[in-house]
Amino acid sequence: MPSPLLPLLLLGYFAGTLGSAIGIGGGLIITPVLTLFLDVPIHQAIGTSLLCAIATSIGAASRYVQEGLADVRLGLTLEFGTTVGAISGAFFAGLLSREILAALFSILLVGAVVSILRKMRSSSSLEITDHQIRAGEIPQYQIKRIPAGVGLSFVSGNVSGLLGVGGGVVNIPLMYVVMRVPFKIAGATSIFMMGVTAAASAFIYYGRGDVAWWITAPVAVGIFAGTRTGTLILRRVPSRWLMSAFALVALYFAARMIYRVLEGGFQP
């Protein structure tokens, strides 16, 4: 089955740019495009999207860690919560209604977006400029409610595992709204965490043979190129614009989940 190389490379480039700029994995774009437009079976599309989340993470995180934008200690702390949550979520998968969970999750996500937009209007969040990043002078910030953040990261890992949704769309509101981390730090730290969170599931898809190399390799190569552009965007574009882009993506995500619930039967 020969792959349409150019569309896959371009898809990867777009997903890598957007994902690394606003801190999400790109599965939100990759999975529907692969299934709807390129007739890729859903399991292979999810497998590809998981590997692409890793590609976005390792492509952009090396730069974010080097620049001090990704908070390694915070990332590690939350990674613990999300990974334990994801594994335990697998055990409860049969006990909970995925439709109810998806609907509740969508409502919570809309609430988180409203909080982000309110904070954006009040200008109370810390801005980090490209000049400060290049000079290595990232302003100090105080992380609030760490125990609550770890607890919620467990819940987010749990829900992510149950619903098959990416971590970024949950982790950014968690860090920005609950823990009061500056938006750019939240985005960069989310990217840093994402590779580890996706790796566990990726291995499982990998072992099952649900990762088609002729689809995944071109998308991943496109992603690596896209992360070059995305990391520049995160550095140079004001947080307010990034928040607006994130809000749009998160609202689309919530609407898509609600639509699938109403359509009858939630599939990841």
Binding site: M1, P2, L5, L51, I54, A55, S57, I58, G59, A61, S62, V65, Q66, G68, L69, D71, V72, R73, L74, L76, T77, E79, F80, T83, V84, A86, I87, A90, I138, Q140, Y141, I143, I185, G195, V196, A198, A199, A200, S201, A202, F203, I204, Y206, G207, G209, V211, A212, W213, W214, T216, A217, P218, A220, V221, F224
Partner: protein, 116 residues
């Protein structure tokens, strides 16, 4: 909280090398695929035999062997990042974060064992 991170350089090195090598191998696979359109290309290749994949990369190089080893590297890199993070924090005597790194790695390995 974004003060000095003991493992910072090691993390950047592991992620940077992982990304570069994976891209190189996957791009090599794509290039071979483009150069050999008439040949039979194995589109069933899976990741179930990593040792076979690595051997094939040197003995019978093909588009699938290049791309598949690149993807394997992609999946392994975040785990290698956790290992160097644990070592870096441990060497700096920051046992709390060294412990968290090891714990996350253990949870992922447990997940792989249970899921696989």
């Amino acid at each position: 909280m974004s003060d000095n991170v003991p493992a910072q350089r090691a993390i950047v090195t592991v992620l940077g090398w992982g990304a570069s090598l994976a891209t190189l191998l996957m791009a090599g696979g794509i290039l071979l695929l483009l150069l050999s359109p008439g040949e039979a290309v194995d589109f069933r290749y899976s990741f179930q035999q990593p040792e076979t994949l690595i051997r094939d990369l040197f003995v019978h190089p093909s588009p699938s062997s290049y791309a598949s080893v690149g993807l394997l590297l992609l999946v392994i890199t975040p785990l290698a990042r956790l290992v160097v993070t644990a070592v870096g924090f441990g060497r700096a005597g920051d046992w709390k974060y060294a412990g968290i790194s090891v714990a996350v790695l253990m949870v992922i390995l447990l997940g792989i064992a249970l899921g696989g």
